[in-house]
């Protein structure tokens, strides 16, 4: 995957980075069965610091619907992202999308989401990972699945951005966070139609 500076510039200077955007677009559509792409080290350090500060100031509330999910969440202010950020997403997905929900999520020990918790209305999902320290043996890994039984997983990576096209049959879940975890996962989830 492309490294940080090039990708960051692709957000802010689309014209001069058409080639990079094209590569990301290709990667996004390459896996037709599970169309998704993860971009590591996506935001600048300064922006990441700023977004972390904003998210830390939000008041999370723990919510458990046993047969769907268990996590702490808060609605995310939309103005946390610039129009340039959304333009970049529209470029990669090749669609002018409409944001229908945005939430910040925290997953700690005993938290999880299940497949049938998926919002069927959304067509594209953006997941921004703000998890600073994580060991994969703690669980909490993001899995994508389709109705053919195929799946892929996205290990936690601080400052990564995952774009998923949620076409029919594609679902995602965060694996149960087990008792070995001594930190929490922090994520931003944006849903579009």
């Amino acid at each position: 995957m492309q490294k940080n500076k090039k990708i960051i510039s692709s957000v802010y200077d689309e014209k001069s980075n058409k080639g990079i955007n094209k590569k990301i677009k290709t990667a996004f559509t390459k896996n037709k069965n599970l169309p998704s792409v993860t971009l590591n080290d996506f935001f600048t350090e300064e922006f990441l610091k700023n977004i972390n500060l904003k998210v830390s100031s939000l008041k999370f509330k723990h919510e458990k619907i046993a047969d769907k999910h268990s996590y702490s969440q808060v609605k995310l202010p939309v103005n946390i992202f610039s129009q340039q950020f959304f333009d970049f997403i529209f470029t990669i997905t090749d669609k002018k999308l409409k944001l229908i929900s945005s939430q910040a999520l925290k997953l700690s020990t005993k938290d999880y989401t299940l497949l049938h918790d998926n919002n069927r209305d959304s067509k594209h999902i953006i997941i921004i990972d703000l998890t600073s320290v994580w060991d994969n043996s703690w669980g909490g890994i993001l899995y994508l699945t389709n109705d053919k039984g195929e799946h892929l997983f996205v290990p936690p990576h601080n400052n990564s951005l995952t774009i998923i096209r949620q076409k029919a049959g594609i679902k995602y879940f965060f694996k149960y966070v087990n008792n070995l975890a001594n930190k929490e996962r922090k994520l931003l989830i944006l849903r579009f139609v």
């Binding site: 619907i65 046993a66 047969d67 005993k110 999880y112 989401t113 299940l114 497949l115 043996s137 669980g139 899995y143 879940f173 694996k175 149960y176 087990n178 008792n179 070995l180």
Partner: protein
């Protein structure tokens, strides 16, 4: 293979039966030995992480065959008497299940493929602090649908104890995460409805 079948029925949060000292101890120990020769495969999904054998109906081990035969014949008659539920013959689902540290099974109701009664036969004993309890949920109706509300009962695994519960739209349960470097070994599965 004989049981004393001293069972106890509990109605809440949904009907379940507990039979302590299900088999003579020596037979239970033989089952552990027999299971230890079976291959356990890692099972992972959104709902669970644990290890499971293939369907024990096809096991070549004579002790496992004998146990399977007992559940499918003599025990099923006693079970019908006990639960007043008519069960289908020769349709038992049965497997060995092993939970290790961090393994779990998240809340679900077990409704699938005509299942009528679920059973869990514990071949290891744990303490509450170890995790691995069978947790039963009460339910509340949301938009006309039974939805798990909160855990109202925990059954801590006890060696040589059989737990049976009626599968329904209220039978929400989970196996809580195993929190210690111990093993939770069970033989479990389902009996099916006689008709449908």
């Amino acid at each position: 293979m004989k049981t004393a079948l001293k069972y106890k029925l509990y109605e809440k949060p949904f009907p379940h039966w507990i039979i302590k000292d299900f088999l003579p101890t020596a037979e239970a120990v033989d089952l552990i030995k027999a299971l230890s020769k079976e291959k356990f495969y890692l099972k992972e999904a959104d709902l669970f992480t644990f290890y499971q054998t293939n369907d024990l109906k096809s096991a070549s081990n004579k002790i496992l065959q004998k146990f399977n035969h007992y559940l499918s014949s003599e025990f099923i008659d006693e079970l019908e008497e006990m639960t007043k539920i008519k069960l289908k013959r020769n349709s038992l689902d049965i497997s060995g299940n092993l939970y290790q540290n961090t393994n779990y099974l998240l809340p679900h109701d077990d409704r699938l493929e005509n299942r009528s009664l679920a059973f869990l036969y514990y071949l290891s004993g744990l303490e509450k602090k170890d995790g691995g309890s069978l947790a039963l949920y009460d339910t509340k109706k949301i938009s006309g649908k039974e939805t798990p509300n909160k855990i109202v009962k925990r059954i801590v695994p006890q060696f040589n104890t059989m737990v049976i519960f009626q599968v329904s739209n209220r039978s929400f349960h989970e196996v809580e995460e195993l929190l210690q470097k111990k093993q939770r070994l069970t033989i479990s599965g389902w009996f099916h409805h006689a008709k449908k």
